[in-house]
Amino acid sequence: MSETTDLSISNLTVKFGGLTALDDVFLDVAPNTIVGLIGPNGAGKTTIFNSISGLVTPTSGEISIHGKKMKWPASHQLAEFGISRTLQGVGLFSGLSVVENVMMGANITSGSNFLKDLFGASGKAEAKLRRRALDALAWAGALDMAEKMPGDLTYPQTKRVSIARALISQPKILLLDEPAAGLGQDDIDKFAALLKQLKQRCAIIIVEHHVDFIGAISDQVYVLNFGKVISSGTFDHVKRDPAVLAAYLGTSTQTGSEKLGGGHA
């Protein structure tokens, strides 16, 4: 199994004091696929991301990255392992220009050699980095915003910038935290097209409330409730799973299935 996955998690349990946020969670992400994580608020979706990205220390559980079993990574190691993450609410630096924000995604201080970073901090390296950032912005369709400040952008534009920032490090695994939140249907469609293109380059894991959006783009869907994976598989499979219907609607009725297929949950 682990030879064919970019990222594999098993038996992940996270406890905050007496509260169990994640309970024996598993997740397998194959290369060049989009994996969607859905579930009600508080189901533990973002906690999975936080565990992968070193913001939360798992109580127990194993992680393999690119088929190699390893310790849970620290935040500053993510780029080293080819993992890139966007944040809920975008998380751009308000005091840096758009292009500088994108440059920040490039793992600019590799962490392995501080002194080399410090004295190699030349204008030349910076100019090269700036060019890469402009390339990433161009790919995300946001080149004309390069010199603006994040505060001057519309919300959908900031989403494009955060994608460019995630891409500049050329990640193998991209974690997107609620990328469609706050977008109108038009922008969601454009965004879905962008992600399908992006899949050629890397595996993508998406946490999202917008069920239609997940259904349209995901190869695999995991449904969480109360910190447990209650169903997984293709979207068509999970949306018919009685456990999922019960979690979303409290009962498993046919009308429920229609609602789940057509609603924004």
């Binding site: 990205s53 070193g54 913001l55 935040s75 500053h76 190691q77 993510l78 780029a79 080293e80 993450r85 944040l87 998380g91 751009l92 630096f93 308000s94 005091g95 840096l96 500088e100 440059m103 920040m104 995604g105 793992n107 600019i108 201080t109 590799s110 962490g111 501080f114 970073d117 410090l118 901090a121 030349s122 204008g123 390296a125 910076e126 980095l129 920032r165 490090s169």
Partner: protein
């Protein structure tokens, strides 16, 4: 006219030094979220090291460079040994509120100041000693008239200008500088972007330590050197940083020059005894009229 020129020149030269002090405070405030009251104690300590070297026969420039390096080293050591453990959330979680927790490192910096001054007194004795200047402190003479501007003033303004240009280039034109600006804005996102924020923090302590050591080297030729000589400079530098905006390096420099001018004009046109009063008035005015400082951003915390 002559008095005016003298006040103007002296204000520029002093202002340049206060700009350095204020800049040091701003860099640590942005990089670590701490008002470092020990800063000029650190500068005093590295100036003593330079003084010891010079009185034992080293050239001024050896002392100069060693002072800057030891200023950077002392800043880094204080961050790693004292400030980093104190800022650790897990170790300070017994303290009730967030603001209490934020106050701990600031109080610690006051403790460090006391410790450094006591230590300097033990090592070098507490009496004043002179400190050499690398250039003449008598005014230039033009056509037989002594001008109110000395070669040392030129050196002061020149070295501060070089420091300011280098600092600006570092923050604006290098990746490490970008990493430090980003860390100051949002530590969590910076971490997720692969920045080792512990290291950028320590680096801001080192830069601040070196720049305030330079301020110490430039102040002591006219004030002499004792464990407490630089206390006043901290007070003025802090006021300058508040006036200019505690989170704005450019504001710190501006504030430094404003304070330099105010002090110089009060000294020349009024009496040196009113300097303290003038500093206090400027501080009060700034806090009433524009509490975030001239170039400070809106959401800066007030201290």
């Amino acid at each position: 006219m002559n008095t005016f020129l003298a006040a103007l020149f002296s204000g520029t030269s002093r202002g340049a030094i206060f700009a350095l002090v204020a800049l040091g405070l701003v860099i640590v405030w942005r990089g670590a979220g701490i008002v470092n009251f020990a800063q000029m104690g650190q500068a005093m300590f590295s100036t003593y090291i330079a003084s010891t070297l010079i009185t034992n026969g080293s050239s001024y420039w050896v002392g100069f460079v060693v002072a800057l390096l030891s200023g950077a080293a002392l800043g880094s050591i204080l961050d790693v040994l004292v400030m980093r453990p104190l800022s650790n959330k897990k170790k300070t979680e017994l303290l009730g509120s967030e603001s209490m927790r934020a106050a701990v490192p600031v109080l610690a910096s006051l403790g460090i100041l006391g410790a450094l001054q006591a230590l300097a007194g033990i090592i070098w004795a507490a009496e004043e000693r002179g400190f050499p200047a690398p250039a003449k402190q008598e005014g230039f003479t033009v056509a037989g008239n002594a001008m109110p501007f000395t070669a040392f003033d030129v050196f002061v303004i020149g070295s501060v200008a070089v420091t300011l240009i280098l600092t600006t280039l570092f923050f604006k034109k290098t990746s490490m500088g970008l990493a430090m600006r980003a860390t100051a804005l949002n530590q969590e996102v910076a971490k997720l972007s692969g920045i080792r924020t512990n290291r950028t923090r320590t680096l801001s302590w080192a830069i601040s330590g070196a720049s305030s050591s330079l301020a110490g080297l430039l102040l002591t030729p006219s004030s002499n050197l004792s464990p407490n000589t630089l206390d006043l400079a901290l007070l003025i530098g802090f006021t300058a940083a508040v006036v200019g905006g505690l989170d704005s390096p450019a504001g710190a420099v501006l504030g430094g020059f404003i304070l330099g001018m105010v002090i110089s004009f009060v000294t020349f046109y009024d009496t040196p005894e009113d300097v303290f009063l003038a500093i206090l008035v400027v501080l009060l005015l700034a806090l009433i009229v524009r509490p975030r400082g001239i170039l400070g951003s809106k959401d800066a915390r007030r201290v």
